[in-house]
């Protein structure tokens, strides 16, 4: 099992409303390509930041690779006293049960973050080192790899994201926006996480950069079977690439399933404040005018072309 959420709620401060409301989710450790949708403020970013314990749940249980993220109570019987310090840990299920959920000693969130690599929105703004290679090496070194090992991991990651060798010794700030974003993604890949989570990875990229990045993610997934989770607002990306779609609305998961089921129910889609992919919306209008016919709604340009040529889409 990869990531499991059991009735997870989260709020940013004591008086704030709940940003996540009893969310339950099950995400496999392999072969998933999940798009998380929802309008601004629906809780998407909060959800993914809970996945690698950057934020910790207000209530509920998160389990990552069979280990629980638990609130550690030093004095479990004096919960309401000010002296009581709360800490969070990432521990083995077995150990948790063995200790009866009372006292756990070491903080271990770093292990969790090695499982789950999170690429933030506009990650190119987080580059800071003097050369590309050093920037990508920063993560692995932080996780205790030696210089040589970190360099090897970094070079491998740069290779995967398609950065040419001559770029590695350049300053990351001399690169174009698209390339800087690749450097940032390489920084996460160098940690070799089991699950890669990306917060709006294509936003701000030009069409070519967007295609290249999406193809890169698809090929990483094909080669390594890693689960990829991405937040996106781009319905064309969802229509073409997603295998599973999760829709957030006001802190709730309101849809979790197949993209075709999501897009074919247009009334519900509008209720979620989402749009159709461009090709689907063209298809709907062509069908309204009686020019084409289909049983399954085309979700990408390729599918619409098939339908126009008189074919049908098979699942």
């Amino acid at each position: 099992m990869g990531i499991n959420f059991q009735r997870v709620s989260y709020k940013y401060s004591y008086n704030a409303p709940l940003t996540l409301k009893e969310v339950s989710l099950d995400i496999s450790s392999k072969d998933e390509f999940i798009c998380i949708l929802g309008h601004t403020g629906s809780g998407k970013s909060t959800l993914v930041q809970n996945m690698n314990a950057l934020l910790l749940p207000t209530s509920g249980q998160i389990t990552v690779f069979d280990k629980n993220v638990v609130k550690v109570v030093k004095h479990p019987y004096k919960l309401n006293t000010k002296k009581n310090r709360l800490k969070y840990n990432f521990i083995d299920n077995k150990k948790l049960f063995a200790r009866g959920n009372k006292i756990v000693y070491s903080s271990n969130l770093k292990v969790l973050r090695k499982h789950i690599g999170l690429v933030f929105q506009f990650p190119e703004y987080q580059l800071f080192e003097s050369t590309v290679l050093k920037d990508v090496m920063f993560g692995p070194k932080n996780f205790g790899l030696s210089d040589d090992e970190a360099r090897r991991a970094a070079k491998h990651a740069c290779n995967i994201v398609g950065l040419p060798k001559d770029v590695l010794e350049k300053s990351p700030f001399s690169l174009s926006g698209g390339q800087m974003r690749r450097v940032a993604i390489a920084g996460i890949l160098a940690l070799n996480p089991d699950i890669i989570v990306l917060d709006e990875p294509t936003v701000g990229l030009d069409p070519k950069g967007k295609d290249e990045l999406m193809n890169l993610l698809v090929s990483i997934q094909k080669e390594t079977s890693k689960t990829i989770i991405m937040i996106t607002h781009d319905m064309n990306v969802v229509g073409k690439y997603a295998k599973r779609v999760i829709v957030m609305d006001q802190g709730n998961v309101v849809f979790d399933g197949n993209k075709r089921d999501l897009f074919e129910d247009i009334d519900r889609l509008h209720k979620f404040n989402l749009d159709l992919p461009t090709s689907s919306s063209l298809a709907v209008k062509l069908k309204e005018r009686g020019l084409i016919n289909y049983t399954h709604l085309p979700l990408s340009k390729e599918e619409l072309e098939t339908v126009i040529l008189g074919g049908d889409i098979y699942e």
Binding site: H39, L205, D206, P207, R289, I292, L304
Partner: protein, 269 residues
């Protein structure tokens, strides 16, 4: 306002030449979209026009008046720019303060400032947010305030420098509706810098930039047809046009009607 670039060249350093002998004329009252991939030099044009960067070679004319470091103060009175990041251009504590900032700098009378704030906030449908702080606004709302601020300066030229690229679909829609409205209601010259073809589709003219040179220039329909040129410039044509192109040599039912419908939908989405 008429804008003319005459053989303009610019480079950040010797290795990276951004603009090479760039020529472009934008007529008074025209809306021109400058399209190009990330790093094509399109934002450099906006920075040069605002005097944030200085050209190496060539001249820029605003209504036949040359733009240089001596005239820039005067020229800035005639143009406004809306940048990419809504957070970077919000200077006031409230919406009202933010719009007043530019007007106070112009030393307008207090009455006039208040009138303009009211008028232009109404135009961008933000009049109910006049006393709100920036953190209470969404990205799209902040950009609309920036647009109101630019309009309040009553400049003849408005430049939108990728002003939707950091917004969600709702914010993007809001800003685009606003640009369309300004285009239709005010006799302003508008330059939209973008890599999004949909945003360029309602311009009078599209100019495509690649490696600092103009590779094509024409009406949206003319430019959308140039699929190879767009792709070589790191862009993609509209999906509807791409479908027409891909199926050009194939036979299918209702071909003529489907092609016509797709063209129509390209501009009326």
């Amino acid at each position: 306002m008429k804008v003319r670039f005459n053989n303009v060249s610019f480079a950040y350093d010797e290795e990276s030449v951004v603009l090479k002998n760039f020529n472009l004329t934008i007529n008074d009252g025209e809306m021109v979209a400058i399209l190009g991939h990330n790093g094509s030099g399109k934002s450099t044009i906006a920075k040069i026009m605002m005097g944030l960067l200085e050209v190496e070679k060539g001249e820029i004319y605003l209504n036949d008046k040359v733009l240089n470091m001596d005239t820039i103060e005067e020229c800035r009175n005639h143009m406004s720019i809306i940048f990419q990041n809504p957070d970077n251009q919000f200077v006031g504590v409230t919406v009202k303060d933010d719009i007043a900032f530019g007007l106070e700098n112009k030393q307008l009378p207090r009455e006039e400032i208040l009138n303009r704030i009211q008028k232009y906030l109404r135009l961008v449908s933000m009049e109910d947010f006049i006393d709100h702080a920036p953190e209470e606004l969404s990205g799209g709302q902040k950009q609309r305030v920036a647009i109101a601020g630019a309009l309040a300066m009553e400049s003849e030229l408005m430049i939108f420098d990728e002003s939707t690229s950091m917004l969600d679909p709702k914010g993007t829609k809001e800003v685009n509706e606003m640009i369309k409205k300004i285009k239709n209601e005010n006799n302003k010259t508008i330059i939209v810098i973008t890599h999004n073809l949909e945003e360029a589709s309602y311009a009078d003219r599209i100019v495509v930039l690649n490696s600092g040179e103009v590779v094509t220039d024409g009406t949206p329909k003319e430019v959308f047809k140039k699929i190879e040129v767009l792709e070589a410039s790191g862009l993609k044509t509209m999906e509807s046009v791409s479908i027409i192109h891909n199926l050009k040599n194939k036979e299918y039912k209702n071909k003529k009607e489907i092609e016509e419908a797709l063209w129509e939908l390209t501009f009326n989405e």
